[in-house]
């Protein structure tokens, strides 16, 4: 079986790649991030041995 002829890159591929990249730089609003930054620095909760864990409500 002969191998099918493969093609080269698209014309102006690098320019199109740059356009693709730039279009993806727009970010959604990061509201949660703002809220997180307003919290005092602390270790992630999973690493906090003193954390009190609320038990789930008992099933009725």
């Amino acid at each position: 079986m002969t191998e099918k002829k493969r093609k080269g890159p698209e014309k102006d591929a690098a320019k199109k790649m740059t356009e693709f990249r730039k279009a993806r730089q727009k970010q959604p609003t990061a509201e949660l991030l703002k809220k997180a930054l307003k919290n005092s620095p602390k270790k992630p909760e999973v690493n906090n041995p003193n954390k009190r864990v609320a038990l789930p409500d008992a099933e009725v």
Partner: protein, 248 residues
């Protein structure tokens, strides 16, 4: 017949006419695909021009799993750097003074690199340092590093390889025994690869790319990696061409 092995991009048209096997395809290294996809890379313009010559002659470009890995890693290091600057500019005033200072200093280094026409890549160690600082802040069980990645970095890096495959029409060389590409002409062994590492002190990933090229039917590799050029100058047979940027 061409006797030398190392050529610059300026020679590409002459090479294509003198070495017709090039039209069957060339191996393209990660730093070349990266340069083509990142406009601040020092080789971007000349790589873009060279790719247009390959487009004109319909020369296919081949990659493998190592090239893909390196390409994504390069993007990770530059795109996290860029994303951190946007993050600082959006939320700098909400940050603790120490974090604010670190990010401001990062932005200054980035701007200096751009002014000096240098590519700015964060080291893995520096990325971990920013991660450790940001994970100190949490909200709704998510830490600020996670939120930063989701909001600033993720959209930048997602799909970037797939787009490169589409636009550069990248062909994948399979090295698996069960599914080996027809361009693999020799046996790819770990021993050969380790020998390249031990004899020349190059990185493992580079040695894998080199080992692939040396055991393939390809007559040319395009790279901007001085390790690959160095070793190929030493061990590459005369019919294995290395194409490097003019400004290399």
């Amino acid at each position: 017949m061409i006797a030398e092995k190392i050529f610059q991009f300026n020679d590409i048209r002459r090479l294509i006419s003198e070495v017709p096997e090039i039209k069957n395809g060339v191996v393209v290294d990660s730093n070349i695909i990266f340069a083509a996809s990142y406009e601040l890379d020092v080789f971007h313009d000349e790589v873009a021009e060279m790719l247009n010559v390959f487009s004109e002659f319909d020369v296919p470009l081949f990659t493998n799993v190592n090239i893909r890995t390196e390409f994504l890693e390069l993007h990770r290091r530059v795109l996290i750097a860029e994303s951190l600057i946007d993050f600082y500019e959006d939320f700098g005033s909400d940050m603790e003074p120490e974090l604010q200072h670190q990010l401001k200093s990062h932005r200054t280094s980035y701007r200096k690199a751009v002014e000096e026409d240098r590519l700015f890549k964060l080291s893995d160690q520096r990325i971990k340092s920013f991660r450790n600082q940001l994970m100190e802040f949490t909200f709704n069980e998510q830490d600020a590093w996670q939120l930063f990645c989701q909001n600033y970095f993720s959209t930048r890096i997602s799909g970037i390889w797939e787009k490169a495959v589409e636009l550069f029409n990248l062909q994948f060389i399979s090295m698996r025994q069960t599914d080996k590409s027809p361009q693999i002409s020799g046996d790819l062994s770990w021993e050969q690869m380790e020998n390249l590492v031990s004899q020349y002190g190059i990185g493992v990933s580079d040695a894998m790319i080199l080992n692939l090229y040396l055991n393939s039917t390809f007559s040319a590799i395009i790279t901007a990696d001085s390790d690959l050029v160095y070793v190929l100058e030493k061990v590459g047979p005369k019919n294995k061409i290395v194409l490097i940027p003019n400004r290399f």
